[in-house]
Amino acid sequence: MDFTLKPVFLLTIVLLYVAINVNAIRTKDKMYENIDASKACFRRLNATHQIGCTSKRGGSTGVIHYCRSQSDLDFILKNGTAPPYVPVIPTNLFTMSNVNRLKQSSKISGVLLYAGDENPDYFTHEQQCPNPESSLKGTCKASSVWNPHGTGLLYQDIPFPVFFVENEETIKFAKECFDKYNNHSFSTQRDRSLCSLQLTSFMYAATNSSTCIRRSNMITNLNPVKFCDPLGDNNAWASLFPLVRGPNLTEPIRDVGYIVVAARMDATSMFDKTEGAISPVTGLVALLATAKYLKTILPTDENFTKNVLFVVFNGETYDYIGSQRFVYELLKGNFPTKSKEFLPEIRMDDIDLFIELSQLNKTETVVAHYLSGTKLKDFLLKLRTNKGDLSFDEAEDSLPPASVHTFLKNRTNLPSLVLADHRGPFLNPFYNSVYDNASNLHYKYLNLTKDDISQSDNIQTHVQKVATMLAKSLYLEITAKSYQGPEDVADLQFIDELFHCYLENANCRVHQAIQKLELNTQPISLYIGVEVAPNFITTLIGLTLGWVTGDVTGPGNRNCTNEPKNYALRYYNMSRSLDDLNTTMCYRITMNFTEAVSPAFIIDGYDWSSGQYSTWTESIWGDIKLRVFLKPSAAHENMTIAVGSMVFILALLLVYFVKSRAHILFAPQLPTLAPTSC
């Protein structure tokens, strides 16, 4: 074979062999095992504090210690010999006292929480008085707080990462690893390899909102970094009758009184999993059912002097973001729109009555909370008349945390009441937590058809009774006559379907009736999220509200458009009914969205220390992940470094020696004499 081809040939054979046989797994995938489906606790900030958790930059590592009971946790805090640890604890051990001990101990670098087999009795980390700064003073008395089991952990600054996994299956690998490597001979743990967890949830923002917003807005170099985002989304509102009249519906109706029926639509929890069954979904479904029923029994405006505004506020859990912005715009004359030409200007004084639907679980009574007022006695009487077989009670001089507080701060004589399921403290043991889900409500999907009735006493029939009571009272208030027509109760099928949509499966009949996108078969989270990433559930709730308060103007086809453009109304093709999703009709809808971002972020030069508006922001983060690996003992790691350094120094010495004696070691090639030519 030719001299020059041989190495090339050899090289080709070697490369082919390697390419065929090598299995290209990255080294890091052989070391780490990722745990997906984990939710992290992340950092939020307000004008004065930071709350939530963060890991170290690049992730916090710690040795796994699986705890089943308090004694396991105590053991590791007292006798752990190979810190730092990451205890894996069930949710019933996640209490204020344990978290304080974990914070003070220097042995803990993170916590992994799992939902144990039994639900705890109480699991709410909201404060005992929710929204203390933005609610009216004196409505949360120290002798009877609203959320007595609230630990306030949601508002604590925790210096280590906390992750949550829903079931133990996902951490099966970690448990097996723990049993194999860690769970024996604890006194000699330092000397062997241990199964460890790495929790990565590094948060960029720090200190408080004003600092991180200021830093995000500063352009100091060509690569600006954002530190935090304001919390925000949209509110949705709709009017029972259009706000305009006339042959082309272009004339705004002025000088009318408004009754506002409100509910909130957001929830929160320490981890990014919020279904919010009792708060807010019961109130939200009651509002939508009331709107639908009221529209059925009172379809057209025959020159009544009152209109009803249904408003769904977003962000109320975080110092009433939605209602504060709503009131701010209302006072500036910007509601419903800035221009007065197409829609009437609605002012604070035009609101005759404010009714809020708060938590409405099926408890003994439905309680109407109000601060004292005379106009209310009228309406309360109407509610009592229409209550049917509901048990109705009144609580004077009492007002649970609700959007109405923002309105009352600006107009103290506004007649307002809050309908709730509790007379004193909340009856919801899982307020604003991961456990406030369908089983907390004892909700079962009934899958009804139209006009079905349900024999048993469940949350659907309870909400039906509340909606019926409220709608009939509103009918009486608007028309001054009792309702005598055929439709006796609110739509039970609609209520059942709505609960199914919000708590079990977002790709449900109601959401298919109002829009065409296929959705995930999971409930959509009700957390407000950041302003720059709007939550789709807001659009869905708004469209549902529009659907039930809208008027049908014809069959659903391409002619259903807003031409010529009417600024007061929208036109959508939506299904005619839940039983008949394929037939669409053209709906003329009075619904619109308004921005639910705190005025603190839009006012130039806002004074962050004034405490006037909500200032909540959410930190930006890079990766959030959780993985298991085997960490070598400290002695092993030290030896690795020592061997490496020795090799390095030896190599340096060797190269120095070889270089200085190169003229001896490598004899120079003498040039061969050129052959004499012939």
Binding site: R57, F202, M203, Y204, A205, A206, T211, M218, T220
Partner: protein
């Protein structure tokens, strides 16, 4: 550039101009000047231009030291007090570290 192959006037010329360039608030040029010409100024046998070269090397060395003291003092003060100074510190920062107050 191998200084052993450069004539003496050229060495003086270089040393002098390095010193003058460093006056434009460029302490690293002085440091380079002091180190590069150190052998020429103090170790080589005597020659005509060596006295002047020595002068420039000494001045460059002293200048570098003063700058080092100033820079180290400022960096220490800033690192310790950046958090306390709040908005002012952010305004004079080029890169603000994430995740810390």
């Amino acid at each position: 550039m191998d200084l052993s192959k450069v004539p003496n006037e050229r060495k003086l010329y270089l040393c002098r101009w390095y010193f003058r360039a460093g006056l434009a608030l460029l302490p690293f040029i002085w440091t380079v000047n002091a180190i590069w010409f150190f052998n020429e100024a103090f170790r080589k046998p005597e020659y005509a231009e060596q006295k002047q070269i020595r002068k420039y090397v000494v001045y460059s060395g002293i200048g570098s030291l003063i700058w080092a003291v100033i820079i180290i003092t400022w960096v220490t003060i800033f690192q310790i007090n950046r958090t306390n100074w709040g908005e002012f510190a952010d305004n004079i920062s080029f890169i603000i570290p994430t995740g810390s107050p």
